[in-house]
Amino acid sequence: MNAPTIWIIIPLGLAFILFLLPSRDWVKYVAFSIMVLFATMAIALPVETTFQMGETMIKITPSLTILGRRFNIDSGDQILLALLYFSTALWLLAPKLAQTSQRFYSIAIGVTVILLASLSVEPFLYAALFIETGVLLIIPLLVKRGQSWSGAIRFLIFMSLAMPLILFSGWLLSGIEANPGDITLVRQVVILLAIGFAFLLAIFPLHSWIPKLTESSSLWVVGFVLWIFPTAIQLFGIGFIDRYSWLRDSPSLQQTLLTTGIMMILFGGVMAGFQRHLGRIFGFAVMVETGFSLLSIGLGSSTGIELFISMLLPRVISLCIWAYALEILSCSSVSLRFRDIKGLARQHPFAASGLVLSHLSMAGLPLLVGFPLRQYLLEATAAISSSYSLLIMIGLVGLFISVLRSLASLVMAPEKIIWTAQENIPQRIFLSIGSLSLIILGIFPQWAKPLLAQVPFLFDHIGR
């Protein structure tokens, strides 16, 4: 048995079977169980180590060859695999909402597995093809009847345009390996890569699909998309940097990543502060999150990578709770514009609290899960340049302003509207546990330490 068969082919097959099954409520629980099972297996079954199961000796080999190309999952990748699968399980666990398509559960598994395949394929540049396949899978769920599709179409266009750029740059990279002194070729590769990743990560000014998508599509699905795609693409990008020493040691790359990260934080934060639509605010907050990820990678040291990995768990919890709360509110309102959501907190206090807490966490409020990492990143960037940290602070202030405006709109209502909780019991439990975890992980950030212990094994050079 080999690892890619266990963690890619079997879950993909199960996702396909789930997709074909009739729409029933139990499909969701089966999908959740599949993800938890394979995540647990990623922790419990070591790759490349012989172990005994009953009377049988089993050894899981790390690679599988398909059509002449290798898929490789070694023991170092298992923690990442478990993290991705557990995180997807979190999205599948959320109580079903009326607007959520039954197909979401099978497609979410399919997309997660395909993006995992993108991280394990060798040569790793073929990842662009898998990312595009994942995009094609999720597109039908992003199209909401009666709403504009421009966000979904732009998402498809931008991701599709990135694929040829990444594939071409991969081919050119083989030329650099043969002739590392060719500066012109290096420059051409860097330009192609930069444009390709700018498309993939929605770097300003190629971000226009994010606010459009958050304004007009199901926010639960959009939340999943805005979590899984940037995470997988950023990991793919780190893999890039890790493999090529000329890229890893380039001071201009670090500078570019730092500048781009700060620009994303500043732009996303300031834009969020001016929005009048809760969905659009969510979209710009995700841009800020991408900015922090780029900033951590741009720090260039093993600490930067540790910070990046540390951000994965807070990010998935914040985005999950935020998107879920938004989806609940959007079910009860004509739109998520400020004028339409006035007083919704009085009817949906759990959703409103979840929204505000996850928003505050992303803005870096002390005692919430986002705070320790943002504080560390602020300190690290201040050590490089105080103007950098000032620009980051401006972005975070923009996020704070947007949360205050959202809160004001949510609670603003005539006095005669009484406080009632219209969320059902499973929704209340899910939102409460999620909100509590934002606080608890913020107070005890050291609980993520076991995850960090595995970082050096994720990448060959950069994390060590």
């Binding site: 398909i66 059509l67 002449g68 190309r69 394929v121 073929y126 093809l129 898998f130 595009e132 396949t133 094609l136 899978l137 597109i139 039908p140 199209v143 009847r145 009666g146 599709w149 421009s150 179409i153 498809l156 266009i157 599709s160 345009l161 694929m163 040829p164 594939l167 071409f168 081919w171 051409q188």
Partner: protein, 163 residues
């Protein structure tokens, strides 16, 4: 589109074994069939895109501009990527056509056709530098996926008009 895929096959078979190039042709024609079935099964008249430049003259003009730009850049591209000039010409022309078409439409179905055209152009050029079977298979999946998405968009559009 079918003619475009046939032309792409002609250029690709210069670099690839005939069977693999034929696989691309078959996939392309399958994508065309999916789009054609979706289009002819649709009974709604697409709204005219008055916000965008219209008219045959304008289209002939931009196609001419695209041809000129392609001719100018194809020599440089063929030297840069070490590919033959016909391949560079064909690939760049298709990419240019796709980009232009995408630039003058906002309708989902047409955007899909534009993306497929860009992809054909890319595949023509990429075939000269990469011969992996996995890449060919994945690109075929992406072609078919895009065509299915195009069909899906058209179906949704029609059901919304019907409502």
């Amino acid at each position: 589109m079918a003619v475009l895929y046939l032309s792409a096959f002609w250029l690709i078979q210069a670099n690839w074994p005939l069977t693999m190039a034929a696989a691309k042709l078959v996939t392309g024609w399958m994508a065309c069939t999916i789009l054609a079935i979706a289009r002819y099964g649709s009974h709604t008249t697409p709204p005219s895109e008055t916000a965008w430049p219209q008219g045959h003259l304008f289209r002939i003009f931009i196609i001419g501009i695209n041809a000129m730009v392609t001719i100018i850049f194809s020599t440089r591209i063929s030297v840069w990527l070490a590919i033959s000039i016909p391949v560079a010409l064909g690939g760049l022309y298709a990419i240019g056509l796709g980009v232009l078409y995408m630039g003058i439409t906002a309708r989902a179905f047409r955007v899909i056709i534009a993306l497929l055209t860009i992809l054909i152009g890319f595949e023509i050029i990429y075939s000269a530098v990469e011969r992996s079977i996995l890449v060919t298979a994945m690109l075929s999946v992406i072609n078919l996926g895009l065509a299915l998405i195009g069909g899906y968009f058209l179906t949704i559009e029609e059901s919304e008009v019907a409502l």
